[in-house]
């Protein structure tokens, strides 16, 4: 707060612009001050003979400090399955989730922190992911967002870009997906959808025009829960593109990738 006031005082002298900047700085300092003072912390009591503090959040970072049984440690932040903790003496280090599970909260209850598990996966509501594969001979990169309406049924919005030798396509589609066994680690599904395919022939080809066509598709695939919020997904879809020519175009698509849920 003092620094903010100093900035204000300094701002009184020079020109308008400098004053405005000083005021903005003061405002920013004020806005951030409560955040800094009020950073959320959580304290636990060590139950194991000791708690090992590593210098970083991961394998390979050495243990440099310990907290003994009965000591109180403050949890500052979490990164993947590691927690940064502060000891009463002031040292700051990182502790893996597995070891923190053997500590107690200040209320004497075992420390129970969110570790994403299969149960969270089966109860997921939102999911996003990116997949890569083959779309009728072209490389396809897809991103999607899914919303679970019921445990079995979800609605998915897909955006794909297929990069082929002679043309590039952008595909947008809306799918209804039915999961057969939504509570299983390996969960097969069937999908039905419709959308738009926009095709751009390569610039090096002559006498071609861009075109947009409606398309419908059906297919199926498999989700496999891997770890935390992370899952693997592979699928096959068969597209029918309703072209303005005599024949509709049929395209087969295979792709696989990774997704997250939250």
């Amino acid at each position: 707060m003092a620094s903010a006031l100093e900035v204000c005082a300094l701002g009184a002298g020079p020109g308008r612009a400098a004053r405005a900047i000083a005021w903005l700085a003061a405002l920013a300092a004020l806005a951030l001050a409560p955040l800094a003072a009020c950073a959320a912390t959580y304290e636990v009591i060590v139950e194991d003979p000791y708690l090992e503090l590593h210098t970083g959040p991961g394998r390979g970072y050495p243990v440099f400090q310990i907290a003994e049984r009965g000591e109180r440690v403050e949890l500052i932040r979490r990164r993947t399955d590691w927690f940064q903790v502060r000891l009463p003496r002031g040292e700051v280090g990182w502790v893996p989730l597995a070891q923190l599970r053997r500590t107690l909260g200040l209320d004497g209850e075992p420390f129970d922190v969110l570790a994403y598990e299969l149960a969270d996966y089966t109860e997921r509501r939102w999911e996003v992911g990116a997949l890569y594969g083959d779309f009728g001979g072209a490389n396809v990169i897809s991103v999607y967002g899914a919303f679970g309406m019921t445990p079995n049924l979800s609605l998915e919005l897909w955006l794909s870009q297929a990069l082929g030798r002679f043309s590039d396509s952008k595909i947008a589609s809306l799918d209804v997906v039915h999961e057969l066994f939504p509570d299983k680690r390996f969960s097969p599904y069937i999908a039905l959808g419709a959308g738009v395919v926009k095709t751009d022939p390569k610039a090096t080809l002559v006498a071609t025009t861009d075109r947009s066509d409606a398309a419908a598709h059906a297919g199926g695939g498999l989700r496999a829960y891997l770890t935390r919020r992370f899952l693997f997904r592979a699928e096959y879809k068969s597209y029918v593109v309703f072209t303005s020519r005599d024949d509709n175009e049929e395209i087969r698509e295979w792709k696989a990738g990774f997704s997250f849920f939250f």
Partner: protein, 218 residues
């Protein structure tokens, strides 16, 4: 104008006071004066474990040099967004752009222009999977150690160059250095592999990129 700012300023102070946190600090200050008669069983209202600040995302910018085969070495700038899945694996989405220069042929011939100015812009996006191969500490000088990690990264994406979108594979490695717990400095080398037919015949090109950047964890 200044009076309006003053009002804003005061409302900010009011807001801080109104939140539980301001009140909490005031109580603490009052308690500090006298020693407590009985040590209270629950000293402070605990926050929920779920409220612990989770920082698995990384967002940042980078700048460096990109060599586009036949089109010179030029400055590239980009943004990156990463999600750390485990202590070892992360996924990254990145996008960048660079303005390429004329080929030697265009320069020597004087008049021939292969590409328009718009087509000369090289822009890309990619989605990659990274692996922290060598996590550890790096020492700068005698007394300073920073957490660091050498990572391998590779993925797929799209490159827009010479008027066309081109499927691109990228792979490379990078160094992540953390001067602060929430700030990382990156130095990366990537190879962007794509098929290019701008010069008449289709060929696979390797476009090397070296960049430095920084990211924030949140």
């Amino acid at each position: 104008m200044e009076s309006r700012l003053l009002v804003l300023l005061l409302s900010g102070v009011m807001a801080a006071g109104l939140t539980g946190c301001g009140r909490h600090r005031a109580l603490e200050a009052a308690d500090a004066g006298q020693p407590p008669v009985i040590e209270p069983e629950l000293e402070r209202r605990q926050i929920e474990p779920a409220d612990i600040d989770t920082e698995d995302f990384e967002v940042g910018i980078y700048a460096g040099q990109l060599s586009v085969e036949d089109f010179g070495v030029n400055t590239v700038v980009g943004v990156r967004f990463a999600y750390h899945i485990t202590e070892s694996f992360f996924v990254e989405a990145a996008g960048g752009r660079s303005d390429t220069e004329p080929t030697s042929f265009e320069r020597l011939s004087g008049a021939a222009q292969l590409l328009t100015d718009d087509e000369r812009e090289y822009s890309y996006y990619n989605v990659s999977l990274g692996y922290n191969l060598l996590p550890g500490e790096s020492f700068i000088g005698r007394n300073r150690a920073f957490n660091s990690s050498l990572y391998l990264i590779g993925g797929v994406g799209n490159t827009k160059f010479a008027g066309d979108d081109r499927f691109t594979i990228n792979f490379g490695m990078g160094l992540r250095l953390l001067p602060l717990d929430w700030l990382a400095v990156h130095a990366d080398v990537r190879d962007h592999v794509l098929d290019n037919d701008v010069l008449g015949r289709k060929k696979t090109t390797h476009n090397l990129e070296a960049h430095v950047g920084f990211t924030f964890f949140f």
